[in-house]
Subunit: 309 residues, 2 copies
């Protein structure tokens, strides 16, 4: 058992896909995330006591944090139970891994309270159970960066294998969340089931270059590799002002721009804080001038992932 | 002008695709390559004087080295001309970049004789003109590693961008060339024009992992990422004994096995020479026992690429 009876957990938002890495790449954000309080109870099982900031179910089986927690407990079989309180700061359906943050936070916190029987890497499959509830898909491209921090590659699922890469030190991410809700499932529907081999090759070249750029800390290459020929052409129409936001960001010096996860948030990779602020300024102006409500914020890449507050 | 009147060039064989990097990845071999003699002549233009080792056309416009050379001369417009002699050691249609070697050697040698006006990286598009003749496709996945050495990523063609990664020091490649000739164009025909999005994602995960493994020098991950769910399922039937060769190599300790380029050669990545020799032994035995003529050889990765002898 652990010395903690209660933990407070920071559950970071994440950007999945990163344009060239559809269903493969992700990165962990620092500036935005949920907060969770988890405490041990004598009564076994999981209870969600309180959720602020979003209209989500307190029913354990209908809540991603609940589902993830239960799946971990089914594996660890502790004698105690857990109470969870969630302060949602990440808007559900915003495209920056809201459900993944809750799922990651729940399993991370419970693991801590039980004296860290599992490595954080081993928590990924349990957090993924929460994602199944949220998006009907068994995917790790948000929970992996949420738990591990930095950039992550989901190599594959059979068996599950996730790799982690440090971000270049001076990399910043600017994000805009146009205030519509876009469910991952709805955003999946617009994607064709088949794609031309040529398109797959084009995407592959950029993905390989992106991973190379991360290792060589080549900011400009990272930007040139931030291209999506698979999902973006189909999804951009779902996102208010996407094409203007993209061109404005690039004009303002962003390295690369794309849809965060399945949208509607848009991310821009920037070298240095000043550049990220330029993009932020341009986006705020664009959305105001077009009368579209939007949140704009800046974040560095979070090297640590989910952690105790 | 240069101090050389005549150069001898080693034109290395290459392995393209590397399973997960269809039309993107390539590596340069050390143990096998063509040799070329190129000399300056007063008469402008290009002449192919002699070819040994393969039945190839001496007509400049029908020869990949000739076509590549002419395309370079059209750009550099020197007052002199060039005579080329080619000693083919790489069998055309073997799947280890025979045409790319000749094309790369021609432009490399001519560039040297003219006093190196271009970087070797800038020679890639001229060598690619030779590939168009050979396979009706404008591709760089063999000429790039032939010219640059190491591992290469073809990021994309518009504009052409090629990246280079050093090989892990102790990486060996074992190759078997079952003696049938398989033309790249014929091997392209069996590939479907469309593929499922799920398949593209699976391939992407392995490609990203492969590039990561090269940078982190993680031999085992390199092996686990050597998977091809796009071309191999369609091409393996064109290659004598493919599935036996693959399982024998893996049993003998190979990290990963796949089709070299468009085949029929098969490559195995191995950690250390002893492991590569194990695979070589197993393959020699398998092909002899099945009465299929085959050449088996071992090579390290060539860090230098095309070079003067």
């Amino acid at each position: 058992m652990s010395k903690f009876e209660e933990v407070q957990v920071f559950c970071p938002a994440t950007v999945a896909n990163l344009s060239c890495g559809f269903d493969v790449l992700g990165l962990c954000l620092k500036g935005v995330g949920d907060e969770m309080t988890i405490r041990i109870t004598d009564e076994p099982g999981v209870r969600i006591k309180r959720i602020s900031g979003a209209d989500l179910s307190l029913e354990v089986e209908q809540n991603v944090a609940g589902v993830a927690a239960v799946s971990l407990l089914n594996f660890l079989k502790p004698k105690v139970g857990f109470e969870i309180e969630i302060d949602k700061k990440i808007k559900p359906g915003s495209g920056i891994g809201s459900s993944a943050a809750s799922a990651a936070g729940a399993v991370y916190g419970i693991n801590k309270l039980l004296g860290t029987p599992l490595h954080r890497r081993d928590l990924i499959p349990f957090a993924m159970q929460g994602e199944v509830l949220a998006s009907k898909a068994f995917h790790a491209d948000n929970v992996a960066p949420a738990l591990l921090g930095g950039f992550t590659i989901v190599k594959g699922y059979h068996p599950l294998e996730v790799l982690r890469i440090d971000a270049p030190d001076d990399l910043y991410v600017t994000l805009v969340h146009p205030k519509i809700e876009l469910r991952t499932a709805d955003s999946r529907v617009v994607l064709p089931a088949q794609l031309p081999l040529k398109t797959a090759v084009q995407q592959s070249g950029n993905l390989a270059a992106f991973v190379h750029a991360l290792h060589t800390k080549d900011y400009l290459l990272l930007g040139r590799a931030t291209k999506d020929v698979i999902a973006e052409p189909h999804r951009e129409k779902l996102i208010p002002l996407f094409s203007l936001a993209k061109s404005e960001a690039l004009k303002s010096g962003a390295l690369g721009v794309g849809i965060s996860g399945s949208g509607p948030s848009i991310y821009a990779l920037c070298e240095g804080k000043a550049s990220a602020q330029e993009v932020s300024r341009a986006w705020k102006l664009s959305y105001i001038l077009n009368n579209i409500e939007a949140d704009v914020f800046i974040s560095q890449v979070n090297a640590k992932g989910t952690e105790l507050i």
